[in-house]
């Protein structure tokens, strides 16, 4: 317990320096700014702004990046409530009751509950990260190559199972990502793989072009093809920001349940914000005395999912920070950012770079506090932003995608790759292929191959090493159970239901 206290103090001493406070604030502001814009989710926002943080110190860069992530997440909720356009899948359910509330003139209450619920969830989940990361990292440090390989396999399988849409296609997308990750020079043999003889591809495909292309550019193409935006902006109705006493008493329990649910689901590989918010909505509907209120402006339908998606977004940092295992696309981006800063993600981060780890944890709490301040009093400013027409916005987004990718390594080919992945991203969308599992595969591909090779060298080429080691065996069994579960028809329909609540 003493350890925890001194660690948190260390974190605050890092996060509270004027420079880092400034970076957290800028991150939250810019994240909100872009997150508020309809049609750009947190993944695209983080991917787009990632290059900006490469020029900073690793700690400052990660603090800013985390701020961007929360800001984008939060901004998406604002848009969901006011415009009925979810920025990303995690705010889809917020639209249902949040926008109804706005239509009834209760937009202020919905926004306040969303903000306060998220803040509460943020506080709890930050504490959870501080509590559970050290023991988990200790477990991680005892892992050898076979355990890591099995763990990553479990992570990928969980990502597939928890992704929405077809499981088979999600598996194919993971493998596609793994293959893309292998492009370049083979670190062990020095052989060139899938480089088409291009020198620039010898270092592999950067993850920035892939992420910005698939999530940023692909989304622009999709939005433009979908045609004229049909926005129903509820304006000039935010008279009272505070919920009434009755609304408040309905909301706090929902926020509590949402926080608990989100914190658990966020840690699961493939979990995170989206799954948490959907699950919380279903839960609120189940426990409500009068479920028919849902869909007509029930405040629990805003408080629960908003708390849950923030808790889930936050606790998904746990496996990323302690094991180096990204559970969702945003965490995959974070891993990429760490790597670019020259930090090998894994359990050693906490012991070798305690200031980085604890500084980031402390900044999470600060970021959440800043967001309440940024969002509630400044809500009018964000509303103004929503008036900018998309036909102007997409040009700005397109430009930032282009210049962002270019500045990572001053490489023309990276921008061209981004354009190509943009087209691919649109095609994936049309074919119902989720791009998030692909990004996970892409990040984990080289790591998995490396660990597979090491494991084979340890065992002398005997694949039985994966089942002879107890931890590895346990992880593989867990993966197998997940696969079996998803194949059971009854559970399969339940899973589909959970993702089709809207």
């Amino acid at each position: 317990m003493d350890d925890l206290f001194s660690n948190i103090m260390l974190g605050f001493s890092v996060a509270m320096t004027p420079a880092n406070l400034g970076f957290a604030l800028v991150g939250c502001l810019v994240g909100t700014l872009i997150g508020v814009l309809p049609g750009i989710g947190p993944v695209a926002t983080v991917a787009m702004l990632l290059p900006l943080t490469f020029y900073l110190e690793p700690v400052s860069g990660l603090i800013m990046l985390a701020g961007i992530f929360y800001g984008a997440q939060y901004g998406g909720s604002t848009t969901a409530i006011l415009v009925n356009l979810p920025g990303e899948t995690s705010s889809v359910v917020t639209c249902i009751d949040g926008h109804q509330m706005a239509k009834q003139g209760r937009a202020g209450a919905a926004l306040a509950v969303a903000a306060l619920g998220s803040f509460f969830a943020g506080c709890v989940s930050t504490l959870l990260i501080a509590l559970f990361s050290p023991p988990l990292a200790k477990v991680g440090q005892s892992f050898g190559a076979p355990e890591y390989f099995s763990l990553m396999l479990l992570g990928l399988i969980a990502a597939v199972v928890l992704a929405h849409g077809s499981v088979v296609k999600a598996v194919a997308m993971v493998i596609l990502g793994l293959l893309l990750g292998l492009v370049g020079t083979d670190g062990n043999t020095g052989g060139q793989r899938f480089t088409f003889g291009l020198v620039t591809l010898a270092d592999g495909i950067g993850f920035v072009p892939v992420a910005i292309g698939v999530f940023g550019v692909g989304e622009i193409i999709a939005n433009l093809i979908a045609g004229e935006e049909r926005r129903s902006l509820v304006m000039a109705k935010i008279t009272r920001l505070w919920p009434t006493g009755e609304e408040f008493s309905q909301a706090w329990r929902a926020a509590l349940r949402g926080t608990a649910l989100g914190s658990i689901l966020g840690v699961l590989p493939g979990g995170g914000a989206t799954l948490s918010s959907f699950a919380a909505y279903v839960l609120e509907k189940k426990v409500a005395r009068d479920p028919s209120r849902f869909g007509r402006g029930a405040i629990e339908g805003v408080a629960g999912p908003e708390a849950a998606n923030n808790a889930g977004a936050q606790t998904s940092f746990i496996p990323m920070l302690t094991l180096g295992l990204p559970g969702n696309a945003v965490m995959a981006l974070m891993i990429g950012a760490l790597t670019i800063h020259g930090i090998q993600p894994g359990p050693q981060v906490m012991t070798e770079r305690p200031t980085l780890f604890w500084g980031m944890v402390a900044s999470m709490w600060i970021g959440n506090l800043m967001l309440v301040v940024i969002n509630l009093p400044l809500i009018g400013m964000w509303v103004q932003l929503l008036k900018v027409p998309y036909r102007v916005l997409y040009l700005a987004i397109l430009l930032f995608c282009g210049i962002g990718v270019y500045t990572v390594s001053n490489n023309t080919l990276d921008v061209i790759l981004t354009a190509m992945f943009g087209v691919l991203g649109y095609i994936f969308m049309r074919l119902g292929c989720e791009p998030a599992p692909m990004l996970l595969g892409f990040i984990l591909g080289p790591l998995m191959e490396e660990n597979l090779r090491r494991a084979m060298r340890i065992s002398g080429g005997d694949p039985m090493i994966f089942v002879n080691r107890p931890i590895s065996l346990g992880l593989l069994v867990a993966a197998l159970i997940l696969l079996v579960i998803v194949a059971v028809p009854a559970i399969r329909t339940k899973r589909e239901e959970a993702f089709q609540e809207s």
Partner: protein, 163 residues
């Protein structure tokens, strides 16, 4: 003479346009391309894996899953559907094109001209292009880009053409 086609089974074009059928074909194509490209990579043994061991293994798995997706699509599935937009090709072509032109222009012509080119070509991708609006957007974005990336962040980007 001709037997009437049974009404229960859809014409083959409709089957072909199912999401899963197309996705399956895409995965099969990628896997086949990967296997062809890696045909000369040394595979090695499990103990001493060659350059091609993991890539070829993954390609074979992708081929199998692609085939599975394809078959699933043939049996049943949702069609890809039309876009309700006769001008769908405009974003599809001009969004990536604007980025490619931007990439090729930025080193030779500088960020100002590259940005204007991106805005001009990007504007063609949208349907409701208004010349004045695009011009204003272009000027604003140039100011923003130069302000943020060149002045504030001091990134090594040339502003004007270099000869």
């Amino acid at each position: 003479m001709s037997t009437p086609t049974p009404t229960t089974s859809p014409p083959w074009t409709h089957v072909l346009l199912r999401k899963d059928v197309l996705a399956g074909l895409m995965f099969i194509a990628v896997a086949a391309l990967g296997l062809w490209l890696s045909r000369n990579y040394s595979v090695g043994t499990a103990l001493r894996m060659g350059t091609g061991y993991v890539p070829r293994l993954l390609c074979w798995i992708l081929l199998a899953i692609g085939a599975l997706t394809f078959v699933q699509g043939i049996i049943a599935g949702e069609e890809i559907g039309s876009t309700d937009n006769s001008q769908w090709w405009r974003p599809f072509i001009f969004v990536p094109l604007s980025l490619i032109v931007f990439a090729l222009a930025i080193e030779r012509l500088g960020v100002v001209i590259a940005t204007l080119l991106l805005v001009a070509i990007g504007a063609v991708a949208g349907q409701s292009m208004r010349i004045v609006e695009v011009a204003i957007t272009g000027v604003l974005l140039v100011a923003l880009t130069v302000g943020i990336f060149v002045w504030a962040l001091g990134m090594p980007i040339s502003v004007w053409p270099e000869f």
